[in-house]
């Protein structure tokens, strides 16, 4: 390998940085611009479907952290009725093993990612809080049918042209941006 001298190496490096002055910035201005997350995102929190759940507790057994607390009693039609289904998402590591383990598709990972709380107590989610709602939508992780209905992820690989993935909206230097949305 031949080494260049006389400042040629420095000049080449400076040329590379200069060239980058004219390339589009890759910054995503987060609160205003939001990228579309993966369809299989293991996002914050779980979504629990009470009608599908049989109370078999496979999810609780599969959890490495022992996070899922489930209590049942035997109902009228010789089935389990779930009394308590509680997840401490503060201890959850979002590995998705419970969702994969569920034989009845009664559990799904959430798609949201802006679910910070002020108190640790608020991270312990009860049976009512875990159900499907406007802010708690399921992601397609281990659930192919949900996956097919979600929009495609935006990829940095396609930052300059659109093929396959969602195009990212890159803002130029001159475009006005305010504080608000």
């Amino acid at each position: 390998m031949k080494f260049e001298r006389y400042g040629i190496g420095i000049a080449k490096g400076m040329a590379v940085t200069f060239k980058h002055l004219f390339r589009a910035p890759i910054t995503v201005q987060y609160p205003e611009e939001k990228l579309i997350v993966s369809r299989r995102i293991r996002g914050n929190e779980l979504v629990w479907y009470p009608d599908k759940c049989t109370g078999c507790a496979t999810c609780a057994k599969s959890c490495p952290q022992g996070n899922i607390e489930i209590a049942t009693h035997v109902g009228d039609k010789n089935n389990y009725v779930v009394d308590k289904f509680e997840v401490d998402t503060g201890r959850c590591m979002f590995c998705g093993l419970c969702v994969e383990a569920c034989p009845f598709d009664a559990l799904a990972m959430g798609i949201s990612y802006e679910r910070a709380q002020h108190r640790r107590k608020q991270l312990v989610l009860s049976k009512e809080e875990l159900q499907l709602s406007d802010v708690r939508q399921p992601s397609g992780y281990a659930r192919p049918r949900i996956e097919a209905s979600l929009p495609k992820q935006s990829l940095l690989i396609y930052w300059d042209k659109e093929e396959g993935g969602q195009k990212l909206s890159w803002l130029g230097l001159s475009k006005k941006r305010g504080r608000g949305v």
Partner: protein, 369 residues
């Protein structure tokens, strides 16, 4: 006669003598200070945005159009911070150090010509004044590093002394070439004598002066005093609040001052067609600072012994040779057309740089312990 002296003369005809002596001085100081502080804020914004664009990101763009007010928000944030003084520090020196770093920077602007007669004081030894005043900052940096009683600060302080003293020599010798060619030590005279910018007449002197000043204002690749990956923040590691703001202002003020000096000595200062002189000066200063930021965004840092070797083995001999060449040219070749001189000097500069890069060794430097 400068504008200020003219103002003083006019004021003397209507006001008593002592008032005519003090008022113009205050007016001049306020105007220059206003220029410096505005430009420092512009510089902070300019560097952040430029660095952002070099690094394929945006840089601050939230506050005001294109984020121009971000430095003001930063200043307010810094001022609101708690002023922490370490228990074991030398309190008086710790308090005094930021002042000693910041004040000389402002004093440099006394001799920077902003226009044909727009200069605070047209000292006949302006260049000597600049050299003398600008080295005081090194004392402040040493005091800061020593007084904060921090080991990183101490390393930084010792590096500071070595670096500042070493790079003072090539810088002064490079200025001497300019002085010889202009035939004067006064800044206004040097600007007036630049029919062709001295950048073309003295390319080697410019390179030496530029690198030396970059080292003196602790910017990459010579930012060993702050070297955030090695000694964290160096001399200002124990400073916060207003005192840190003084260092911060001092750093950018230094960059502004040296950009002004480079523009004045080598880029024909405020001279330029069509636009008013002050605009030309600002354009040239911005161009110089652009190159400094560009270098900062690209180059890795030198090691301390390589830094010293570069000053003593590289820049200093080249500066001496350059001085001799310029002296010879002024003595014997002053009659020939300047453009021929430009060509001759570029050839000399190229040959010397090639010669010295042959001697430049790569790597090594282990010490047996």
């Amino acid at each position: 006669m400068t504008l200020l002296e003219q103002f003083q003369l006019w004021l003397g005809s209507i006001w008593p003598g002592w008032a005519a002596y003090i008022v113009p001085a205050i007016v001049g100081i306020v105007v220059v200070l206003g220029f410096v502080l505005t430009m420092v804020i512009v510089f902070i914004w300019y560097e952040r945005r430029l660095l952002g664009r070099f690094q394929v990101r945006l840089g601050p763009n939230r506050l005001g159009p294109e984020g121009i007010f971000q430095p003001i928000a930063t200043a307010v944030k810094i001022l609101l911070k708690e002023d922490i003084v370490p228990t074991k520090s030398d309190k008086v020196i710790h308090w005094l150090a930021p002042v000693i770093v910041f004040v000389p920077v402002l004093m440099i602007f006394a001799v920077v010509p902003f226009g044909e007669r727009a200069i605070l004081t047209d000292l006949n030894v302006g260049v000597v004044y600049v050299v003398a005043i600008s080295s005081i900052s090194a004392v402040g940096i040493y005091m800061a590093g020593w007084a904060s009683n921090n080991k990183y600060g101490l390393i930084s302080a010792l590096r500071a002394v070595a670096q500042m003293v070493s790079y003072e020599l090539p810088v002064v010798l490079a200025i001497l070439g300019v002085v010889l060619m202009a035939g004067s030590l006064s800044m206004t005279q040097i600007v007036a004598s630049q029919k062709i910018p001295f950048l073309l007449l003295q390319p080697l002197g410019f390179v030496i002066f530029f690198l030396g000043t970059v080292a003196e204002m602790n910017r990459s690749p010579f930012d060993l005093l702050e070297a955030d990956s090695e000694i964290v923040a160096g001399y200002h590691i124990e400073y916060s609040g207003m005192k840190f703001a003084m260092f911060y202002l001092g750093e950018y003020g230094h960059a502004l001052a040296y950009s002004c000096i480079i523009a004045t000595l080598f880029l024909s200062g405020w001279q330029g067609p069509l636009l008013p002189p002050i605009i030309w000066l600002v354009i040239k200063v911005m161009a110089v600072f652009f190159v400094i930021v560009w270098m900062r965004s690209t180059l890795p840092r030198l090691r301390v012994d390589q830094l010293m070797a570069f000053a003593w083995k590289g820049l200093l001999p080249m500066a001496i040779i350059n001085l001799f060449i310029v002296a010879a040219e002024v003595l014997w070749l002053s009659e020939i057309t300047p453009w021929l001189m430009v060509a001759v000097n570029f050839v000399f500069a190229g040959v010397l740089v090639l010669l010295w890069s042959k001697l430049f060794t790569l790597g090594g430097g282990r010490v047996e312990v």
